[in-house]
């Protein structure tokens, strides 16, 4: 049985990189074409979906593959957003540099915090990152160059003229967000399939055994935290671009929303992150439609989405703890195995 599995995986590794690249390019091309065919509202929502998907991807990378749960992705997003905004305000470099700054600075903070976090596990890490998510944005009020509650504007300007006059603000947001997200997801996907990714997985499911075979679980955990923070930082910069770089952009609710999206998408499947982003945008839409039937009460509009997503969260973790996608996958694998066993 073991032998067969190895055979299969070696066959799979037959140039997986190029195939993934092709897939992401096709997906990107399709999405951008689509941007021309739908209303401005959908384009705007598309940008939000891309941003959430990226943030969820950063959490999946951390939790699904290295077993650490961070409730503080919002804090790393904030760091990335402030880094991007400050870089732009003080240096005015090309746009791409501001996004790189977001990734690098957030990753740096991730490395520092990850250094401490690697020693913590389960609820301790969750509680600490929760305190980070709640505490870090308030720093903006301490230093005037961070703009206080009013925040900073991370202004990516309008689309270059060669894109034409029809190219709206939202389409510009969507292009930037979708491209950044696709490139980043592609990058994460490749890490996860690399030996690092496999080492993380090993460290997650059995730290003691991984240690025995010479994998440095601690160091790899820090690395996972660093990369995750960097990815979250980029998502934060993108959110800052669409919204505002302010403490109230990066609230605890945002961190919770990202966890919700990640759990619903399946904490162990990166590809589910796009689905997770979609869920976060679609559920409020549905809730609004439903609340319309209740006479558009403010209390219903404000709370109904939270009720639905939280209920889904509980049900998911109670009955399919590894996410619906993984469960389905698991189910399929089992079936395959059974078929194989029968054949032998």
């Amino acid at each position: 049985m073991l032998k067969q599995k190895r055979d299969k995986s070696s066959k799979r590794e037959h140039n997986p990189y190029r195939r993934r690249l092709l897939f992401f390019i096709l997906l990107g091309w399709g999405l951008l074409l689509l941007g021309d065919r739908v209303s401005e509202l959908r384009v705007y929502q598309g940008a939000l979906i891309a941003i959430y998907a990226l943030a969820i991807g950063s959490l999946i990378l951390l939790t699904g593959y290295s077993g650490q749960l961070s409730l503080g992705q919002g804090a790393f997003m904030a760091i990335g957003a402030y880094a991007a905004a400050l870089t732009q305000i003080y240096l005015q470099p090309p746009l791409i540099v501001t996004f790189i700054a977001a990734v690098v600075v957030a990753a740096l903070f991730g490395a520092i915090i990850g250094g401490g976090a690697a020693r913590l596990s389960g609820p301790y890490l969750a509680g600490t990152t929760l305190a980070l998510a709640l505490g870090l944005p308030t720093l903006a009020n301490l230093f005037s160059f961070l703009g206080g509650e009013t925040g900073l504007y991370f202004d990516v300007g309008i689309a270059p003229e060669r894109f034409g006059a029809e190219f709206t603000l939202y389409k510009w947001f969507f292009w930037i967000a979708a491209l950044a997200t696709l490139i980043m997801l592609f990058f994460i996907q490749n890490i996860l399939k690399s030996r690092y990714g496999r080492a993380w997985k090993a460290g997650r499911s059995n730290p003691a055994a991984a240690q025995l075979v010479g994998l440095q679980v601690g160091r790899r955990k820090v690395l996972a935290f660093t990369i995750s923070a960097g990815v979250a930082g980029l998502a934060g910069a993108l959110l800052g671009m669409v919204s505002l770089v302010a403490p109230s952009t990066f609230t605890l609710s945002l961190s919770f929303a990202i966890i919700t999206g990640a759990v619903l998408a399946g904490l162990t499947s990166l590809t589910g992150s796009i689905l997770g982003g979609l869920v976060l945008v679609v559920i409020p839409e549905i809730a609004e439609m439903v609340s319309g039937n209740f006479g558009e009460s403010e209390a219903v509009t404000a709370n109904f989405p939270g009720l639905i997503t939280s209920l889904l969260l509980i049900l998911t973790v109670l009955f399919t703890p590894n996410g619906p996608a993984e469960q389905w996958h698991h189910h399929k694998e089992k079936k395959k195995q059974k078929a194989l066993e029968k054949a032998h």
Partner: protein, 431 residues
Amino acid sequence: MIGSFRKKGLVAASAIVAIAGLALAAVPAQAREVGVTATSIKIGTTVPLTGIAGPGYAKVAPAMKAYFDYVNANGGINGRKIEFIIKDDRYLPPVSVEKTNELILKDKVFAIVGALGTANNLAVNSRVRLGSRGVPSLFVNTGFSGFADKKKFPTLFPLFSSYRMEAKIMGQYIKENFAGKKIGLIYQNDDFGADALKGFESAGVKFDVSLPYVSGTQGAATATTWIQKMAAAKVEVVYIFGVTTATAAAVGVAAAAGYKPQWIFGSVGADATTIVGQTTVPVALLNGALSMSFMPDAADTTDEYVKFFREVNTTYNNNATFDNNIMAGMNGAMMVAQALKAAGANPTRKSLIAAIESKGSTWASAGYPPIGFSSTSRVGYTGFWIGKYNLTGSLIPVEAKGTIFTTDSGNGPVVKTTSKRPALPAKGLPN
């Protein structure tokens, strides 16, 4: 190869779902201006209904809606009913940006009216680019002087007398009446507060104790530190230049601590019913506190505008407790109705802005000071009257009624004059 494609099934599935989600709606063709149909005209606003600044300010938008409902019941604007959408932004600038995006993209409003908050409006104008997209934002509920900059905010019209004007006028009053006393200031540490600081500077007022606070922290805990510091420094006059919840927190804690300074409340943080509703202090405790306003006091039932707004409030606003927030809401709504009417039988966003520029300064409103709109000026009201609270929480003018102080948001002088406010039009409807 085939196997790998199957493995990618999930990826493809999620991508397809994402694309399908995006493709739900197509763009409808538009003949008329956005938000305008043969029978209706759609406008929207962002205000705090909940959250830290909610108490008091939550009454502004429903009051606007009440006046619009009254207009609709009397035939609407040029035969069109006003459809008014209220979004709660909890006074958080990023939420204002999000909700404004929704108003423009999802609800497709003709214009934004009465959006509340300095930081909120600044954020919206920068991030949603109302100006370059030509979306009008009428009569914002903030007195930030910077909004009068037509170049920066080509589609935005402020209405309130600016915070700078306020600080200059009250600054002069402080110099004349409280010379030699210890004076303290509590202000919101953002553009709202900074605007006032500039005004105090031009008035030449110095504060012995100056305490900035971060929007969102103005609870009892923070107010305790204000009062302890003010009391420790033996400050005799305390000027609170913040939102109403900040005033309420300070007054409540001071009452409990037995600290009794001469209070001065900033015009947007001075509503007596809200302050009393948010604390356990009896209304009589406000007696003698100074404040200023550009509208008549909500309790002044001899004023024709107050009387009219109270009638609308009874019928169309569930008879909510009438206060300055409701006054501000209805007064803004009255200006909006006149602007929509003046924009013509086939209103466009451009004709709306042109109408305000050409006729806005002549429209009827409850405000005492003259309005400064013209093709070159975006300044709304240009002054205040100063009053003192009595035992029942009404603001009583310190000068003769109708006496106002006018000035500008620069270094111009403060001028004492008499109001020449237009009379209430028939039935309170736009002419």
